[in-house]
């Protein structure tokens, strides 16, 4: 897994995004145990404190939960997963729409082009 990090945002937020994407994409299955903070930090080449902060953030979002002694696990709450998946999708769409608007497209045109692209792709 490549942890390509950009310069402008806090590192822990970028790690949150990477792990979220991995969970949604199925790289981690529901109920899977996450590697230890140290191992994850090693993998991402970041400071363990930063990784800790990212995992705390993920716990807050409900995607990850901690079992007192045995470590961190991916949530088995599929409703939660779907919710986050759709939230991420909405973020991407909003970004896409914003970019299209900057190019001067109206909503109808965007819709038309999108339909065309989807048909062509199939």
């Amino acid at each position: 897994m490549a942890w390509i990090l950009d310069d402008s945002r806090p590192i822990y937020l970028q790690i949150v995004d990477v792990i979220k994407t991995n969970i949604i994409a199925g790289a981690y299955q529901p109920g899977d145990k996450l590697p230890s903070v140290r191992d994850l930090a090693m993998e991402a080449s970041v400071n363990p404190n930063t990784m800790q902060k990212a995992l705390t953030e993920l716990e807050r979002s409900g995607l990850v939960y901690t079992q007192r002694t045995s470590g961190r696990f991916i949530t088995e709450d599929t409703a939660k997963m779907t919710e986050i998946k759709e939230q991420l999708a909405r973020e991407q769409i909003q970004l896409f729409l914003k970019n299209m608007e900057q190019l001067g497209f109206k909503k109808e045109d965007i819709k038309r082009l999108l339909d065309q692209e989807l048909k062509g792709g199939q």
Binding site: D7, M42, S45, N49, T50
Partner: protein, 232 residues
């Protein structure tokens, strides 16, 4: 959190030249800190003062509440920016040396790291390249269970693969009781492993903050901020 290092009005002058000018600084446990500044800014002077290789002209420097001396040297592990071993020594000689003098030295950890780099314990330093010698030295320094690690330009002259290895070593050996102070001017390389940064210039501390704060408040990397602060 507990204070591991504190400097109060710490000043070091060499003749008429002031290398550090009334520095106030504290370092807590469990942090990885970048000591960042241009060449000649006072980074090495500060690290030498921490290790008792220089005596302060004025002010106070305390490690775990004590001024540098035999007691603080038990808990500080130091990687200078030069090689300090005799070239006739074999790796085993160095292991023996560290085992004898540092009670917190973990020989097995060192051997494991040496093997991972394919360094034979029977090798003599004189037969090694400069880069390999530097790695051996880093392994020795990181194989101690110290409270404070001072790494002076650990990634200065090494290739990218070795640089990654060094950063991995620092992360692997991290523990929440200990702090790591890394001096460098190659910021982008180590930015991701840092908690905090100290910007130092002309013997003055320009800024101490966390990496996340820089990114959140300034919206830019430490490297970018550094270039801005120290623009020539």
């Amino acid at each position: 959190m507990e204070q591991l290092l504190s400097c109060q009005n710490l000043t070091k002058r060499y003749g008429y030249k002031t290398a550090l000018d009334s520095i106030n600084l504290t370092i807590e446990r469990g942090r990885i800190i970048g000591l960042l500044g241009p060449n000649g800014s006072g980074k090495t002077t500060l690290i030498k003062l921490i290790n008792g290789l220089l005596a302060p002209t004025e002010g106070l420097l305390l490690i775990n509440g004590a001024i540098p001396g035999p007691e603080t040297k038990k808990i500080v592990s130091y990687l200078p920016e030069r090689t300090y071993f005799n070239s006739w020594m074999k790796v085993t000689d160095i292991l023996d040396f560290f085992c004898d003098f540092y009670s917190d030295f973990d020989r097995n950890r060192a051997i494991e790291m040496l093997h991972r780099l394919n360094i034979d314990e029977k090798d003599r330093l004189s037969s090694m390249s400069k880069g390999t010698k530097e790695k051996v030295q880093l392994i020795m320094v990181m194989s101690r269970d110290a409270d404070l690690y001072c790494l002076d330009e650990p990634i200065g002259g090494v290739d990218p693969a070795a640089r990654d290895y060094i950063l991995q070593t620092i992360i692997t050996n991290y523990n929440e009781r200990a702090s790591v102070l890394i001096s460098t001017h190659l910021i982008s390389d180590i930015e991701n492993v840092l908690d905090d940064v100290i910007f130092i210039q002309n013997g003055h501390i320009r800024l101490t903050t966390s990496v996340d704060d820089i990114r959140e408040q300034e919206g830019k990397s430490v490297d970018a901020l550094f270039r801005e602060v120290f623009r020539c």
